[in-house]
């Protein structure tokens, strides 16, 4: 019994070490700080990994842009839901700005805002108007990019069958899938779009098999919003020799002959703009800062490996959206419940 107790203690130490490992990303960043006492201190809480080649990566890129702009930064990645509030509070104690990367942080910011009146809280991908005067929501009009993704996909498809693969059926993701379909039907009303939900943003194997399953049913262009699992989607499409419209950052380098374009959701740009605003003085809270195609926060990358007509069509529709001639379905301001991850 004594021996097993001792071993249990060893295991416990291993466990603590492991949690230390997981958190050490922010230790490093925080440790490198404290040089210029006057610089803006910005902390970010991310739900996923900073290297997911998608949603979380663009948030992290935004934080790095803030750092390049003179801010002192810290972050917590892969933050578990039960730790949201705690992480927010501990960052709020010694930072000027705390950014929650993702819709789900809206409630947390509202909850802790009163406790830290001198801190400005920002929540990304949240279209709801915040109540507290020190909370700002940053909402990219991602459906505009999804619409363009649909235009590119439908223009490149030979079968007229398109697929959409999303991590979960979160409202922000559903809205983008709806906009994707609308974009595709704008080009060719006869296009069909099938949507598959993986139930995960991490399980790359599922992403791959979903793509291969779609290929088997005659779908020849897939649009994905699946973060890390989306890398699996791209690999599956590559194996089945069909095309992909990527999401988040330009994913063409992952599979140059497979990814024909990517919907860019440049949250980094929005976050950077927000940081520079915050550096000059207190940011006016209680509002939603919305941005989209006009400033390039949302866009579609250039079209790779496809006839010039595809690019021309995308450019034409982009101009039409900016001019207000084409109506794009929006996320809407009445998202029920909580929990969405990607935006």
């Amino acid at each position: 019994m004594r021996r097993s107790l001792r071993a249990a203690a060893v295991a416990l130490v291993a466990l603590t070490a492991a949690t230390g490992f997981a958190a050490c990303g922010d230790d490093e960043e925080a440790g490198a700080s404290s040089t210029a006492p006057s610089s803006l201190k910005v902390a970010m809480v991310l739900p996923g990994a900073i290297n997911d080649k998608g949603f979380n990566q663009t948030g992290y890129d935004g934080l790095k842009a803030c750092e390049a702009g003179g801010a002192t930064v810290a972050f917590s990645e892969k933050t578990a839901v039960p730790d949201f509030t705690k992480t927010f509070q501990s960052f709020a104690r010694d930072n000027d700005v705390v950014i929650g990367h993702g819709f789900e942080f809206g409630e947390i910011a509202a909850e802790v805002a009163d406790e830290f009146p001198d801190v400005t809280f920002a929540v990304t991908s949240n279209p709801l108007a915040p109540e507290a005067s020190n909370v700002v929501h940053l909402m990219p009009n991602s459906t505009q990019g999804a619409f363009l993704a649909g235009v590119a996909a439908a223009s490149s498809s030979e079968t007229g069958k398109l697929g959409g693969i999303a991590g979960f059926d979160f409202p922000v993701l559903q809205a983008q899938m709806t906009a994707f379909e609308a974009g595709a039907k704008y080009v060719d009303p006869g296009t069909t779009v099938k949507v598959v939900y993986l139930g995960t943003f991490d399980d790359v194997s599922k992403g791959r098999e979903a793509a291969q399953g779609m290929a088997a049913s005659g779908i020849d262009v897939i649009y994905h919003i699946a973060d890390a699992a989306g890398v699996g989607v791209i690999n599956g499409a590559k194996a089945s020799k069909i095309k992909v419209v990527g999401w988040g950052i330009d994913q063409n380098s992952l599979a140059p002959n497979t990814v024909i374009a990517s919907q860019v959701v440049d949250q980094a740009k929005m976050i950077q703009q927000f940081c520079s605003e915050a550096a000059t003085g207190p940011v006016e809270g209680g509002r939603v800062i919305s941005d989209g195609l006009q400033s390039g926060v949302i866009d579609l990358t250039k079209v790779y490996n496809e006839p010039a007509e595809v690019q021309a069509k995308v450019d034409e529709v982009r101009d039409a959206i900016v001019a207000g001639d084409v109506e794009v379905p929006s996320v809407g301001g009445d998202i029920p419940g909580s929990g969405p991850d990607a935006g």
Binding site: A7, A11, F21, S205
Partner: protein, 310 residues
């Protein structure tokens, strides 16, 4: 409904099922060896993840997927050695050790990915493309499904056969099973229980690592945090469903793999079925099989109990 039937009769579904089943099968095979020796290895998930990471690291450093396999297996065996050190030699709690290792590996692999590659931007590496077995792959019906897979699939099948033979037909297998049933009696007959359990744990680590390598190098060609996606835990369940029998592992793992493939494919053709239901299908069906067909299961009598020599 007939759209669903089309999927069920298509070879592509079963080819996908095999791809999804192989990592679970390999990990379950390892777990079976460990459990037959009396050790519950809950750290399976961590060992798979270590294998997945090591596979990519090795293939990246040496530019050869086979050296990736070796690196992945070695890393997983290192994790298994920690498990054996604590749970076998120190007679620690097997479950607690396993859980601790899972969390430690999750953190350690993402930490190492960020150390090796800037900001953890893991590149695409050399992996295993499907390799059609000459002759056999042109067999009608099953040819392409079974013999058009990546090299690791055939390796997994061969390892399954070898371990079935070792466990059921060799002295070593008999001694290992004795350690899992009644270690004290085995010890009294001169079997070195601790050494046997060490060997079983390391073999388990190697097989789980290979399963992890299959996920990264056989499927995706890159590493992402937590990419094993809980398959190690599925493998734990598969062992129970297979009633600790190596020959039952194959249908159990295949059932799970095919259901997983079906869940993703059926969403395309049958949009009227709720997707949550389809995603739950592999788990529901596996549970149903366990409850309905398996009947009473008898685990090794000394399973999960550390052995301390008196």
């Amino acid at each position: 409904m007939h759209a669903l039937l089309d999927i069920l009769t298509s070879g592509a579904l079963y080819a996908a099922g095999i791809r999804l089943a192989v990592p679970v099968f390999l990990a379950a095979l390892g777990e079976l060896v460990a459990e037959r020796g009396g050790l519950v290895n809950v750290g399976l998930e961590g060992m798979m993840l270590a294998g997945a990471f090591g596979g990519v690291l090795g293939s990246y450093l040496f530019d050869d997927p086979w050296l990736g396999v070796i690196t992945g297996v070695v890393l997983a065996v290192v994790v298994a050695a920690i498990q054996a050190g604590v749970a076998v030699s120190l007679a620690g709690d097997q479950i607690v050790t396993g859980i601790a290792l899972n969390i430690a590996v999750l953190g350690a692999t993402s930490f190492m990915a960020r150390t090796v590659w800037t900001d953890g931007n893991v590149p695409q590496v050399e992996g295993f493309d499907p390799w059609a077995v000459p002759g056999l792959s042109s067999l009608p019906g099953i040819g392409d499904v079974v013999f058009g897979q990546g090299a690791l699939v055939y390796l997994a099948a061969a390892l399954g056969a070898v371990l079935w033979w070792v466990l059921t037909r060799t002295d070593w297998g008999l001694r290992l099973r004795a350690c899992g049933e009644d270690p004290r009696a085995a010890d009294s007959l001169g079997i070195r229980v601790i050494a046997m359990r060490w060997q079983a744990t390391l073999i388990c680590g190697a097989l789980a690592g290979l399963g992890g390598v299959f996920i990264s190098l056989g499927d995706i060609f890159t590493f992402s945090d937590g990419m094993s996606g809980g398959r190690g835990f599925i493998a734990l369940a598969i062992v129970i469903i297979a009633r600790w029998s190596p020959s039952h592992l194959v249908p159990a793992a295949l059932l799970f793999g095919v259901c997983e493939a079906l869940a993703l494919r059926a969403q395309v053709t049958s949009a009227d079925l709720p997707y949550e239901l389809l995603l739950a299908l592999p788990y529901v069906l596996t549970l149903a099989v366990y409850a309905g067909l398996v009947g009473r299961t008898l685990p090794p009598a000394a399973l999960g109990r550390p052995y301390v020599r008196r």
